[in-house]
């Protein structure tokens, strides 16, 4: 996966692929490639979400500790 990929750009690309596939504007020649790319993007997004969530939970925990 390329460097500097953001969640947003990954998500947008993912949505674009989904749209392409939905409208069947994707050619069979590149379908496998696209789906492979989509699976990579999904994995990337999920990983990014998970790490962000973990980080946020940690911060919230500290916030709650600090508030008490």
């Amino acid at each position: 996966m390329e460097k500097n990929l953001t969640y947003e750009s990954a998500y947008n690309e993912l949505a674009a692929i989904a749209r392409e596939i939905e409208t069947e504007s994707v050619s069979v020649d590149v379908l496998a490639e696209k789906v492979k790319r989509a699976s990579e993007l999904i994995a990337f997004c999920q990983a990014k979400l998970k790490s962000t969530e973990a980080e946020v939970n940690k911060i919230i925990e500290q916030m709650e500790k600090g508030g008490k």
């Binding site: 993912l14 692929i17 989904a18 069947e24 989509a38 999904i42 997004c45 919230i60 508030g67």
Partner: protein, 498 residues
């Protein structure tokens, strides 16, 4: 037990001192008092009067529901003109309660009232007026008049500081924003005020652990005459140079004295102008003083003022923790939403890809089918074409030869038909030519007298060759005659002139 002093002396004389002049006639005090009572009762009987007076020396016994006070009348110079003891009980006390409820004015010292009284004399307690009714409208009107006059003056004279908007007074002070958190507080109060203690105690023992810095500015908050001192104290707060969050004006506890100082023009103006928000806790449950109206926030008691400040700070804390909660909840929702979106997309992409592939497969199968079917059809068409062509090839030559044979036989018939005529014609032509040839033949020409002349065995038409002495052969009819030329001369005959 209340006994006036002259009464006490008479009582002592009557009971404990042995009479030293037994010859002197005397009566007991009680007998005299009963006479007084008889006269007063006889005169006033059931009469009652509406009286305008001021109240002083007021006290109230809650257990018995008795009010004790003096009714006084003051002259133009504030000197005492008349005074009498008064009390109220039973129905009278009930009326006073209603009066307090309706006017918001406590029945207490230094109020100007219109009361309905009955004259009462008691042999022990002496002369007094029983208040049996009190006119609420009179007091309301008076208080209101006074207050309204002061308020009107404040608004009229200070339009840049005090405005009346709707029923409310908007002052420079009331327009000041309260700091988000109130911590530095200047308290203007009487040194002896129990209200001051209430305020401090409530504030410092707040359940949330908020800390406060409280500076006391003591003054005298009773009696209207101290208004100037009060204003001076406010100025001290301002000059301290300390950035106070609020100034709290407190009064409370101690005697239920008047509140007139807080209806004072100068104090009202000072509060309205003050550059730090003013909170009042004047300990006056029913009335709003002018100071209350001019202040940023008014509360009823010092405790309530403290509670207001705590609540204000609590609001800030609640807001902060509200933000915290919102952040937590929203971030969790956000994560959930994103996870869901991703999952949806994933499912979507998988399904759509499968659908796409299946469609392509179907299309392939269809194409395959089409190709197979079409190829068969095509082949059979070609085969038919070929068979047709073959058939054509097989049948056409016979037809052609047949036709040609027909043509030939037609031509033959024609030849047969036209042959005789032709021959006849040709014979005719031949006969004609034969007769022409016969006419033209040298034999016939010779018969008609013409001869052929030969020179040296060759026919000649040139007479010049025949010079005299040359041999000349002449063929005439069927004879050849050889001769020698004798002469050759120009002929001038007419024999050939046909």
């Amino acid at each position: 037990m209340i006994i006036n002093t002259p009464g006490l002396i008479l009582y002592l004389i009557a009971n404990f001192i042995t009479p030293w002049r037994p010859d002197l006639e005397y009566i007991r005090l009680s007998a005299l008092n009963r006479q007084i009572q008889a006269v007063i009762d006889g005169h006033f009987n059931e009469l009652s009067f509406w009286v305008v007076a001021d109240i002083t020396n007021h006290s109230y016994k809650e257990r018995t529901n008795y009010h004790y006070f003096d009714l006084v009348e003051k002259g133009n110079n504030n000197d005492l003109v008349a005074k009498i003891a008064g009390k109220a009980w039973g129905a009278g006390s009930q009326r006073i309660k209603e009066f307090e409820r309706i006017t918001g004015q406590a029945f207490t010292n230094n109020i100007h009232v219109l009361v309905k009284v009955k004259v009462n004399y008691h042999v022990v307690y002496g002369l007094s007026l029983d208040v049996i009714d009190i006119d609420t409208n009179f007091t309301i009107g008076m208080l209101a008049q006074q207050r309204e006059a002061t308020l009107a003056e404040l608004v009229a004279k200070n339009p840049d500081v005090i405005k009346k908007v709707g029923g409310r007074y908007v002052t420079r002070n009331s327009q000041l924003p309260l700091p988000l958190v109130i911590q530095r507080i200047a308290v203007v109060a009487s040194k002896t005020s129990a209200g001051n203690e209430d305020f401090r105690h409530t504030l410092l023992n707040n359940p949330y652990g908020y800390r406060f810095e409280i500076d006391d500015y003591f003054t005298v908050v009773q009696n209207e005459a101290n208004a100037a001192l009060f204003v001076e104290t406010l100025i001290q707060v301002f000059r301290s140079g300390i950035q106070y969050d609020v100034v709290v004006i407190i009064r409370g506890g101690g005697a239920q004295t008047d509140f007139l100082i807080f209806d004072n023009y100068k104090i009202g103006l000072a509060v309205a102008r003050f550059p730090i928000p003013v909170i009042t806790g004047i300990g006056h449950l029913r009335n709003e003083t002018i100071a209350d109206l001019m202040a940023h926030t008014q509360t009823k008691t010092p405790t309530k003022a403290a509670e207001f400040i705590i609540a204000h700070n609590k609001k800030f804390e609640d807001e902060i923790s509200g933000f915290e909660k919102t952040i937590i909840i929203k971030s969790q929702q956000l994560f959930a939403a994103h996870y869901r979106e991703l999952t949806d997309l994933k499912t979507f992409i998988i399904n759509q890809s499968r659908t796409l592939i299946n469609e392509q497969k179907d299309m392939l199968v269809n194409n395959n089918q089409v190709i197979i079917n079409k190829t068969k059809t095509l082949l059979s068409h070609k085969r038919n074409d070929l068979m047709f062509t073959t058939a054509v090839f097989l049948s056409k030559p016979k037809v052609i030869t047949g036709n040609k044979l027909n043509d030939l036989s037609n031509i033959l018939q024609n030849i047969v038909a036209f042959k005789n005529n032709y021959l006849k014609n040709q014979k005719g032509y031949l006969g004609h030519f034969t007769s022409v040839f016969n006419l033209m033949s040298p034999k016939n020409i010779l018969k008609r007298g013409f001869a052929i002349v030969k020179y040296q065995d060759k026919i000649t038409v040139d007479p010049g060759v025949f010079q005299p002495g040359t041999e000349m052969e002449v063929i005439l009819s069927d004879k050849s005659i050889k001769s020698v030329v004798k002469s050759n001369q120009q002929h001038d005959g007419k024999e050939f002139n046909i």
